[in-house]
Symmetry: C2
Subunit: 420 residues, 2 copies
């Protein structure tokens, strides 16, 4: 590629531009007054058009693969050079953050723009994944499954809340499901993939370093629990023996919080309660609820789940309430590539920043990519410790630090001899 | 009235008939597979037809007033004799009990039938109220308001879930709203009203006496509470400072249960929880919930509410969660008529039963009637301590005890000189 590159700018100015673009992109929304941008929605098309323009300003040409992923490659003069992927995603879960996903895509564009005409021994492909959150079809990271050749026929048949299948949504976007195996796979000789994100890290304070490098993505256990007690009149049911399912569930939820608070690396969350009857004046007969537990070590996570289920059982038994639990999903921890992670650490160090090794506590496309290609993640701290919700924020100097680190990585990354 | 009375039967046989009729009546339902009979529903018409037949077998003639209440009077030869009302209700809240309401109506019919030709110095009016539960229009005891002249124009304008107003529902039942002030009021010179019900009493064991006489109906405070925390990603939000509204609410709900368990006469119930977001993987931002508190003494109830609100505040403060509370309704305790209550005690004693004085912990039409006429309530114990729910039950010998007590009351009740 030999488009005219933009004039170089200071990293601080580029960082400010990245933040400004994140905010502008947040205006591309399916729901006015919030940022919601579902996979293949009209707002996602607007977002891709906007990003395509910024990619063009950076001297590249963007195109859409048949899963709706926006892609652009900065080619090096040697056609057979290996490819490094810089990626994040552009879909936004309902009423979610301005920065989640967008930041990584816009940082990648800014890095390429900053490189200007600098010659590198590698191609750089930017991938803005169309679907990581899974908010429309209920399965996260569909687009990284498509790119790594792991999308299955049943994925394409899944329907959204309006009964529209993934395949139909792809067609309605002007793309061709049958061409996914042709246009979506990673470029041959892709040797590494790097994502940059903003993410609060449990146990890491706001005053710590701007950056961190992910060593491993935490595993998650997700369970459903049902507390089955006795619906009974709130006035006439005797307190000690009323079999109130809500009282049992509440006692247990408080215990979950207390237990997790004692372990720095553990999160345990009861993330929703549904009570029956929903009308007043009754001790609750049934509570449906959930538990999700994350820990860097799979064995510790399993032990925590087992302990918390024993506690649920005990809270029920004490009140004559039956407790049933079912595992909804089990995701083991995913270690990221040691060699690439080390290179990211060194790049931060060269750029003058501390980037301690940490665990990431959220699910990411990186978990899917890591199975196909050496993958690493650079995290920016969250000054307000919010994630995936409106109101999160980031600091300009932190974005500058991330950009400097990415540039250092690009300038010093010599593709592994085995792969290049 | 001089219809041919039925042949007298043993009280045990009559009690068995009452239970059988309750079960038969439970088959008149708006929803197959459960007992649900809303005010002026098709099933309530079927129920009135069935009950009207049983009233006819007892030698009386039933008619419907313009609020849908089924009424029948056993007249004494002296037209100007005072009237005693025996009442309960025939509407059934969704998926509720076979006996609640029905039992009192069918016991009144059985008592009149058992009296046969016995001459009494009073008229006996049976009233089967059409609406006590308030399940259709959201206001309890509308029909006793109609009978005591306290129904207001806005009551008639209230709409059900399908947008049908009370007035329209009355017309659709073939009745005339404009005639409510003419056909509904209590018969002039009504001097007393007695209801019989099955009801578990907090603090009274199942092995205690079959009967009890209500001295007072408990007051109720009903409140709404909102816990406003911070919706945040379940993996990345640090446990100690995540502002999880559900954790705060759960901690408090467990405290409510613990507090109420320490006071025999207090019930405190959190009777429903609504969490936002409803999707998984997030610490909960908002919890909407309720509190209802009952106690025989209004001051004790108010003190309990104040204490529990302080606890909610504290549970929130500890977690950075804001708590807002609003009173939805305040119902003071209603003492029943001392003289009539004493007469009910004596009637039980004469019939050979112990009927200790107790408090009733549920709302009743008796609360409305008590403001218009001396009112008393006889309660049967609940062998399974369930109320207003499917699966409650009663014992034949308890029904026999209630019938014997009612008959003794009728045979010995000399209307008060002031009233007769």
């Amino acid at each position: 590629m030999s488009q005219a590159p933009s004039a170089p700018a200071s990293l601080a100015a580029r960082a400010a531009t990245v933040i400004g673009r994140c905010r502008e992109l947040a205006g591309m929304t399916d729901v006015a007054g919030e940022t919601t941008r579902l996979f293949l929605s009209p707002a996602s098309r607007d977002a891709e058009t906007l990003i395509g323009g910024w990619i063009c300003q950076a001297g590249l040409t963007a195109h859409c693969d048949d899963f709706g992923n926006l892609r652009a490659t900065r080619r090096c003069p040697h056609d057979d050079a290996p490819t490094l992927v810089l990626f994040s995603h552009i879909d936004v879960a309902p009423n979610s953050s301005h920065f989640n996903g967008s930041l990584g895509v816009l940082l990648a564009i800014a890095a390429v723009e900053q490189l200007g005409a600098t010659s590198l021994p590698l191609h750089i492909e930017i991938i803005a994944f169309s679907d990581e959150e899974g908010a429309r079809f209920g399965v996260p990271s569909l687009s990284s499954l498509a790119v790594t050749g792991r999308l299955r026929a049943e994925h394409l048949e899944r329907a959204d809340g309006n009964g529209i299948s993934v395949a139909d949504a792809i067609r309605a976007f002007g793309l061709v499901p049958g061409r996914i195996p042709i246009t979506c796979p990673l470029t041959p000789r892709t040797f590494a993939a790097v994502e940059t994100r903003i993410e609060p890290v449990p146990g890491r304070g706001q005053s710590d370093s701007a950056l961190a490098v992910v060593e491993s993505i935490l595993g998650v256990s997700r369970l459903s629990l049902a507390f089955q007690g006795q619906c009974n009149h709130a006035g006439t049911a005797p307190m000690p023996s009323r079999g109130d399912a809500l009282a049992a569930a509440a006692h247990w939820i408080a215990e979950v919080e207390h237990y997790a608070a004692n372990y720095t690396q553990l999160t345990a969350t009861v993330d929703g309660v549904h009570t029956l009857p929903a009308t007043g004046d009754f001790a609750t007969g049934t509570v449906q609820t959930t538990l999700e537990v994350r820990h860097p070590r799979d064995e510790s996570r399993h032990a925590a789940v087992a302990h918390l289920l024993t506690k649920a059982e005990a809270a029920g038994t004490l009140r004559g309430v039956q407790v049933r639990a079912a595992v909804r999903s089990e995701q083991s921890a995913v270690p990221l590539d040691r060699d690439l992670t080390l290179k990211l650490h060194r790049a931060a160090e060269r750029a003058g920043y501390d980037a301690p090794p940490i665990f990431s506590a959220a699910g990411h496309s990186a978990m899917i990519l890591a199975a196909a290609v050496p993958t690493a993640m650079l995290l920016l701290r969250s000054p307000v410790e919010l994630s995936h919700v409106p109101g999160d924020d980031l600091r300009c100097q932190d974005v500058e630090a991330a950009l400097a680190t990415l540039l250092n990585l690009l300038l010093h990354l010599h593709p592994h001899p085995k792969l290049s």
